[in-house]
């Protein structure tokens, strides 16, 4: 019996023949798009320097990604390298030398992502790994905070530091206005910053550490699209606010208020955009709560008892390392296991 051949070419695929609307590049580029308001706010506060630093770290990330994927899987245009570049740029001071930002982006992608096997294989957030590298390599440049806001009134377009320092030369800080970050003020001089300034972002600090409000709005959009797990920022905010409230109630003079803790430094940026990196956060919802609470606990500990004024970066990197363990202990209860029969 020989069935007759059919005339029209048709395709045979495994079920399901329907696909959902999301795709990985779409998720990645949506995160990049949602970072645009944050970039815009930072340009408003820090002038063209902010844009230059972000572009430099993106260039480092993209060029490195390109160098690695020339012969491998084509992941250059999936947007994940771009996220690393933008996020790294946002954690740097506006006056940061561009060549250092480039090196940071290259390190983040090369050592944070590609040597693990590329997209989806890395343990640590590549942007934060790049920043950790820069912090170790260039401790002075990365803690030179140019002043923001009124200090630059009338000269918005001026560079906020020696962005164009030559490679391997120390940048000179003679001509720029600098100032400590709110966390620095708090830790080393015990003075607080106004909550409104913190909320809107008119403070000194890293490029993306400024406007908590913009970051929250962008994060809400991503959470609504289900491109980030809202449980992670929620648990970080709750645990930081919770621990800070207790400490603040014990000694208000020594420990800052929960609002200050939430909106100062890189906490907003870290909680919304870095801890929620899908690759380096737990896959289970219960795991996300544990992960977020762990970060919150570490952030407060480092800020208050540690030697650094800021602890978001190390808190996230430390918890990244625990993710496989968290995944293992938070496996969901499989349907039909450990059940008892109910009567109608």
């Amino acid at each position: 019996m020989t069935p007759t051949p059919h005339s029209q070419p048709i395709q045979v695929m495994a079920a399901p023949h329907f696909k959902g609307p999301d795709s990985t590049p779409q998720i990645m580029w949506s995160v990049v798009a949602s970072l645009c308001p944050v970039i815009a706010a930072s340009i408003y506060f820090f002038g063209p320097s902010a844009l230059l630093v972000i572009l430099a770290s993106c260039a480092g990330a993209i060029v490195t990604e390109w160098a690695f994927v020339r012969s491998g899987p084509r992941t250059l245009f999936d947007g994940s390298g771009m996220i690393t570049g933008v996020l790294l740029g946002l954690t740097l001071p506006p006056g940061f030398p561009l060549w250092m930002a480039f090196v940071g982006g290259a390190f983040g992608i090369g050592f944070g992502k590609m040597i693990f096997g590329g997209l989806g294989q890395n343990i640590f957030n590549p942007a934060l790994l790049g920043r950790a590298f820069l912090q170790a390599a260039f401790p002075v440049a990365i803690t030179t905070w140019s002043a923001s806001g009124e200090a630059w009134a009338g000269s918005w377009w001026h560079l906020r530091g020696d962005n164009f320092a030559l490679p391997l030369m120390s940048p000179h800080v003679v001509d720029t206005l600098t100032g400590a970050t709110p966390l620095g003020f708090m830790k080393f001089e015990h003075t607080a910053t106004s909550n409104l300034d913190l909320l809107l972002g008119s403070v000194n600090g890293s490029i993306g550490e400024t406007s908590g409000l913009v970051i929250l709005v962008s994060g809400a959009y991503l959470a609504w699209k289900n491109f980030l797990n809202w449980r992670i920022p929620a648990s970080i905010f709750l645990s930081v606010a919770g621990i800070a409230s207790v400490l603040h109630a014990i000694d208000a003079a020594r420990y800052p208020s929960p609002i200050f803790m939430l909106f100062s430094g890189g906490l907003m940026l870290g909680a919304v955009f870095m801890a929620t990196d899908m690759v380096t956060s737990p896959v289970t919802n219960r795991g996300c709560w544990i992960f977020g609470i762990g970060i919150g606990f570490l952030v407060v500990s480092i800020r208050i008892w540690g030697g650094l004024s800021e602890g978001v970066m190390y808190a996230i990197l430390l918890m990244n390392a625990l993710v496989p363990f968290i995944n293992r202990i938070t496996q969901p209860r499989v349907f039909g296991t450990s059940v008892k029969v109910r009567s109608l």
Partner: protein, 442 residues
């Protein structure tokens, strides 16, 4: 009473039922020939009892059941047996089948039959009549209906659940059955309740079929403890375990059958067909099939004899459009794509879909980014991300520790995966491997 009415997780694919939901079922013209595979059900294939050249009438037994889990096959047309040999089966394999040429100019009238009187029959005899009529689960799995009705004695069944969810997109065959023949559905329920010796039945219908809900509620007899429930529209609401969870708040224990928690589930069309057996005496030879998808010129609901080839069905429905990409038997979430249009439809085939390129949304595959969306989708609460990694590494035996056997291949994980990883396909491969190479107990 019932507080839960749904299950957790699942996905919301576009239901696409508006293409055919309002179209009344019509009888499809008889084709020139039909091909009836001997394996149209789960379990042992039937054994042919006809020879080439035999003349058969519509409804005649042509292959008999060979085991406890098996079902006989009846001729769906009046005609002459041409050939008994191998023919493409929807599963993709070549399986034994009986090819019957349809008698030209035949009125296609079945022989007069003795209608069994259900009121005087015992449980055993009712289930024997259902078995002999070749009734299998018409929701897709095609499990012999009578085999479900003899549960072990230590677990008496206390409720009959009728599955009218039809959660697969596009399909409207069950929907039309409920709208057009609600009385027959309740007649089938009455017989099943008598056979099981119980009084309680619940019908679950997804809320996107208000006309079916209205028709069932209007026809609901007052002397039976039957209730009709509108369930949330969510895939896979019609999966057996999910329906049981929704209607009784009971969970089928891992590795056990629904009878272990006192539940019997039958698809609504199966129930109606059981009703038909005790109304007309006719065995299962045809059913309502939804022919739909944007790759077909004229979608519709048709009463089609089993064994009709896809090619003949497509021809009646105006043929494939120029952008048709895939022909699927069943729904788009779990159905089987067909590469050969001479493949016949079977008892369990509720839909023939022609999907266009735009509907299939063929996409590139990316590495897993551990987004966890598959864990959020899995109605069984498995970890498809971990299972997928293990399957890719061919570590099949370890997958059993992650409850691979509980996976029902509903496809929710593949549907949501942004990286387009073919998770349910990987699990199907893994299950097949483990069936052929059972792990050694250490």
């Amino acid at each position: 009473m019932v507080s839960f009415l749904s299950f957790r997780h699942g996905v919301h694919p576009p239901d696409e039922k508006e293409l055919t939901a309002k179209l009344a079922s019509r009888r499809m013209p008889f084709p020139k020939e039909v091909v009836l595979p001997l394996s149209q059900h789960l379990g042992a294939p039937a054994k042919s009892i006809v020879r080439v050249g035999d003349r058969v009438e519509r409804g005649d037994l042509i292959a008999e059941a060979t085991a406890a889990i098996s079902a006989p096959v009846h001729s769906s047309v009046s005609g002459v047996v041409q050939e008994i040999g191998f023919w493409p089966h929807p599963s993709g394999a070549q399986t034994p089948a009986i090819r019957i040429e349809v008698a030209p100019y035949s009125p296609q009238v079945p022989r007069p039959r003795l209608v069994p009187d259900w009121q005087t029959l015992e449980t055993k005899d009712i289930s024997e009549a259902i078995r002999r009529a070749g009734i299998v689960g018409l929701g897709g799995a095609a499990f012999p209906a009578a085999a479900k009705m003899t549960p072990p004695k230590e677990n008496p069944i206390d409720v009959l659940l009728v599955n009218g969810c039809e959660c697969e997109p596009y399909l409207t065959a069950d929907h039309r059955m409920m709208v057009e023949q609600p009385a027959r559905v309740f007649f089938g329920i009455r017989i099943l309740l008598k056979a099981l010796g119980i009084r309680r039945a619940r019908i679950g219908v997804e809320a996107n079929k208000p006309d079916a809900l209205a028709a069932l509620s209007a026809a609901c007899p007052s002397d039976l403890e039957v209730s009709v429930h509108a369930l949330p529209v969510k895939y896979p609401q019609g999966a057996e375990k999910m329906l049981i969870k929704a209607l009784t708040d009971r969970e089928v224990p891992s590795g056990k059958l629904p009878s272990s928690i006192g539940v019997l589930v039958q698809n609504v069309t199966t129930v109606a067909m059981i009703g038909e057996v005790f109304e007309t005496g006719l065995p299962l030879i045809e059913r309502i099939v939804t022919v739909s998808g944007r790759g077909i010129s004229k979608p519709g609901n048709w009463i089609i004899p089993f064994g009709t080839k896809i090619r003949d069905i497509l021809e009646v429905c105006g043929g494939l459009t120029s952008d048709a990409q895939e022909v699927v038997l069943g729904g788009p979430m779990m159905g089987l794509a067909q590469g050969n249009l001479d493949t016949p439809i079977l008892k369990g085939t509720g839909g023939v879909l022609a999907l266009t390129r735009a509907e299939c949304k063929t996409k590139n595959t990316y590495p897993c980014i551990r987004c966890g969306h598959c864990l959020e989708a899995c109605p069984i609460f498995l970890n498809p991300q971990m299972l997928g990694n293990l399957a890719k590494a061919e570590r099949y035996e370890e997958m059993l520790d992650y409850h691979l056997n509980d996976c029902m291949l509903c496809g929710c994980c593949s549907y949501v995966c942004p990286s387009n990883i073919p998770l349910s396909q990987l699990f199907l491969v893994s299950k097949t491997y483990l069936r052929k190479n059972p792990p050694r107990k250490s």
